[in-house]
C-alpha cells in the first residue's frame, strides 16, 4: 500500500524551491526546540513515575508529545504529500491518572513517538534545514564576490574555497552557482526525505492496519446494506409472487370442493386454473432461486455455472475455465454474480457480437476476465452497474479493473482472493 497521496517533490519551479526552503526552515526552527523540549520533559516525567509525581504529569506530557507528532503528521500530508496515519490506542475518558499513564506507556505508538523525538532533533533537523541552507549559502557566495570578502582580511573559507581576494571570491561565487544548481534539484526532495524519515520512524504498520480496518468497516457496511436489500427483495418477490399464487390455488381448491357435486363442469375449469397457478408459482420460485443461488452453481461450481450462463446469452460467448477444485461458496457466488452482471452489461450496452470469458485461479487469486469486441467506453461510476460489481467484490477484498477505450474493445478483469 502506498501512502504518498501526491508527489510533492516533482515540482522544480523557482517558487516551489523557495517554498520548500521556507517550509524546511520553519520546520527546522520548530522541530529542534520542540523535539528537545518534548524529549526532555518525557524523560523527566517518566523518570519521576516511581516517586509518584510522574504518574500525574506523564499523561499531560505524552499528550503534548502526541499533539506535536500530530502537527507533524498534518504538515507531512499538506507539504510533502506523505500520509502518516496515527495509530494511538484509545483511552477511556474517565480513566484515573494511573490508568492513563500506564495505558499510554503500554501503547507501542507512544514509544514510537519517544523514539522519533531524538531522530527528529538530529536527522530530522538536518534534512529540514538543508533546503534552506542550499538556497541561502549560495547567496553568501555571491555576496563575497560582490565585495563582502573585504570584511575578512585574514581569509575566509567558503565551502572548500579559501577566499583571500576578488579572484577567489569569484571562485566562491562559482561554487555558489553550482550549489544553487544542485538546490534546484535537491531542495524539494530533501523536504520529501524529511517527511519520509518522519514516516519511517513515526508511522507503523499499525497505521496500515488502521487503514485496513477502515476499509473493512466500509465494505462490511456495504455488505450488510446489500444483503438487507436483497432480503427485502426476496421477501417482496415471495409475497407478491409465489405466495399470492399459492393462496389463489388454495382458494380455488376450496371453491372446487364446494362445486364438485353441484357444478362439475365449473369445478373442472377451476382445477385447470389452479394447476396453471401452481405452475406459475413454481416458475416464479425457480427464477427467485436462480437469483439467490443458481442451481448449476450449487451443483457444478463456478466454471460450469458460467458456461451455463454463456449458453443463455444472445451473444456468442466463449468460456475458458482453469479452476483447480472449488472455491468457497460465498466466493464462487460473488464471482458468479459479478461475471453475470458484467456479461449482462456487455450484452446490453457494448453492442458486441463476441464475448470471451476467462476464469482462472492461481496463487490464491480467482481471476475472471470478460472481454467483448463492442464499442467500449464503459466506466466505473455512480449509477453504472460496474460500481455495484465493485462493491460486491469489495466485500471479498476483490478488485475490479476496466479497460474500455471508446471504440472498444472492453476488458473487465475481476480478482478475488481465495484460499
Amino acid at each position: 500500500m502506498t501512502m504518498d497521496t501526491k508527489n510533492g517533490s516533482g515540482r522544480t519551479t523557482g517558487r516551489g524551491i523557495g517554498l520548500a526552503a521556507v517550509r524546511g526552515l520553519a520546520l527546522a526552527l520548530v522541530s529542534l526546540p520542540g523535539a528537545v523540549l518534548c524529549f526532555c520533559l518525557s524523560l523527566v516525567s517518566i523518570a519521576l513515575i516511581p516517586i509518584g509525581v510522574g504518574i500525574v504529569t506523564t499523561p499531560y506530557v505524552l499528550t503534548g508529545v502526541r499533539a506535536f507528532a500530530d502537527a507533524r503528521r498534518v504538515l507531512a500530508a499538506e507539504w510533502g504529500g506523505v500520509r502518516i496515519p496515527p495509530a494511538y490506542r484509545p483511552l477511556p475518558q474517565d480513566a484515573n491518572p494511573w490508568a492513563r499513564t500506564f495505558g499510554m506507556l503500554r501503547d507501542p505508538a507512544t514509544w514510537r513517538d519517544l523514539w522519533w523525538l531524538p531522530v527528529d532533533m538530529t536527522a530530522g533537523f538536518v534534512t529540514a534545514l538543508l533546503p534552506a541552507v542550499l538556497l541561502l549559502y549560495p547567496l553568501e557566495g555571491f555576496a563575497l564576490a560582490l565585495g563582502l570578502w573585504r570584511v575578512f582580511p585574514d581569509g575566509y573559507w567558503y565551502g572548500f574555497v579559501p577566499v583571500t581576494g576578488q579572484a577567489s571570491a569569484f571562485g566562491a561565487a562559482a561554487l555558489g552557482l553550482v550549489l544553487l544548481f544542485l538546490a534546484h534539484f535537491l531542495t524539494p526532495r530533501l523536504l520529501g526525505a524529511h517527511f519520509r524519515l518522519t514516516r519511517a520512524v513515526l508511522g507503523s504498520n499499525q497505521g496500515e492496519l488502521a487503514e485496513r480496518v477502515r476499509v473493512l468497516t466500509e465494505t462490511r457496511r456495504d455488505a450488510v446494506d446489500t444483503s438487507a436489500a436483497e432480503l427485502r427483495r426476496i421477501e417482496r418477490d415471495l409475497h407478491d409472487g409465489a405466495q399470492a399464487r399459492l393462496v389463489a390455488v388454495g382458494m380455488d381448491l376450496g371453491t372446487i370442493e364446494a362445486l364438485l357435486d353441484k357444478d362439475p363442469a365449473r369445478a373442472k375449469e377451476l382445477i385447470a386454473q389452479a394447476r396453471k397457478s401452481s405452475v406459475e408459482a413454481l416458475t416464479e420460485l425457480r427464477e427467485l432461486v436462480r437469483g439467490i443461488h443458481p442451481p448449476v452453481l450449487a451443483e457444478r461450481g463456478l466454471g460450469d455455472a458460467v458456461r451455463a450462463l454463456a449458453l443463455r446469452l444472445p451473444v456468442a460467448t466463449e468460456v475458458s475455465v482453469d479452476l483447480p477444485g472449488r472455491a468457497e461458496a460465498p466466493v464462487e457466488s460473488a464471482a458468479y454474480f459479478a461475471v453475470s452482471e458484467v456479461l449482462t452489461n456487455a450484452v446490453k450496452h457494448a453492442g458486441a457480437d463476441r464475448i470471451w470469458v476467462d476464469l482462472h485461479r492461481a496463487a490464491g487469486m480467482l481471476r475472471a476476465t470478460v472481454t467483448d469486441n463492442g464499442k467500449g467506453g464503459a466506466v466505473i461510476g455512480a449509477g453504472s452497474g460496474l460500481a455495484g460489481v465493485e462493491r460486491r467484490l469489495g466485500t471479498f477484498d476483490g478488485v475490479l479493473a476496466v479497460s474500455s477505450p471508446v471504440g472498444g474493445p472492453t476488458m473487465v478483469t475481476m480478482e478475488i482472493p481465495c484460499a
Binding site: 432461486v289 442451481p295 448449476v296 450449487a298 457444478r300 451455463a308 449458453l311
Partner: protein, 217 residues
Amino acid sequence: MRVVLAEDLFLLRDGLVRLLQAHDFEIAAAVETGPELAAALAELDPDVAVVDVRLPPTHTDEGLQCALEARRKRPGLPVLVLSQHVEQLYARELLADGSGGVGYLLKDRVFDAEQFVDAVRRVAAGGTAMDPQVIQQLLARRSGDDPPLARLTPREREVLELMAQGRSNAAIAGKLVVTERAIAKHTANIFAKLGLEVSDDDNRRVLAVLAYLDHGR
C-alpha cells in the same frame, strides 16, 4: 415395462410410483440416493430410468452423473432426467453420445400425467424428450444471429420446437390440430431450409436438429 426411479423427496417419489404404476409400468426399484441408483441400474437392467438430477449424498448433480455413467457402461440405456430447473448445459451432456433414449424434463411436467407418461414411453423406446424450455432457449439464442432459422415461418418454428422436443409427426399434428400430411410438409420445408437430410427415424431427426442448433458455437 420395468422402471428404476430415483428421487430423494419422499412425496414426489411416492407420487411418481403411483403415477407410473397407474399407467402399467413395473417399478423395479424406487431409490433415494446416488449410490443406490448406481447399484440399481447395474443390477436390475431396467427398460427405463427416471432420475432426479439432485440426489443425496452430495445434493449436487449426483443423479445426472449416475445416469451418464450408466449410459457409458450400457450405451443407449434409456434415461429420463427430471429436474427442478432445466439447463442447456445438462441437456447437451445427455445428448452428447448421440445414441438417443434420453429425456430431460422439468419436474412440473409431471403435473400433466398423460404428457409425462408419454415422455417416459418415448424415451424407453429410444426416442428423446427434451423440455420445451430447453428447446425455447436454444431457438431463442440461435434465431437472432442465424439466417437459416430466421427464414422459418412462425408455424414452421412451432413445428421445429415440437420436433426438437422429440415428438413424432402424428403427435405434432395432434398438438397443433392439423393433419399429419400438413406436418410432413412443414418438416420437409424446415429440413430444406436448414439443410438437413430427411429421415424417418424420430430420434435421429431430433438429434439432427439439436446437432444443427449446437453447430457453430
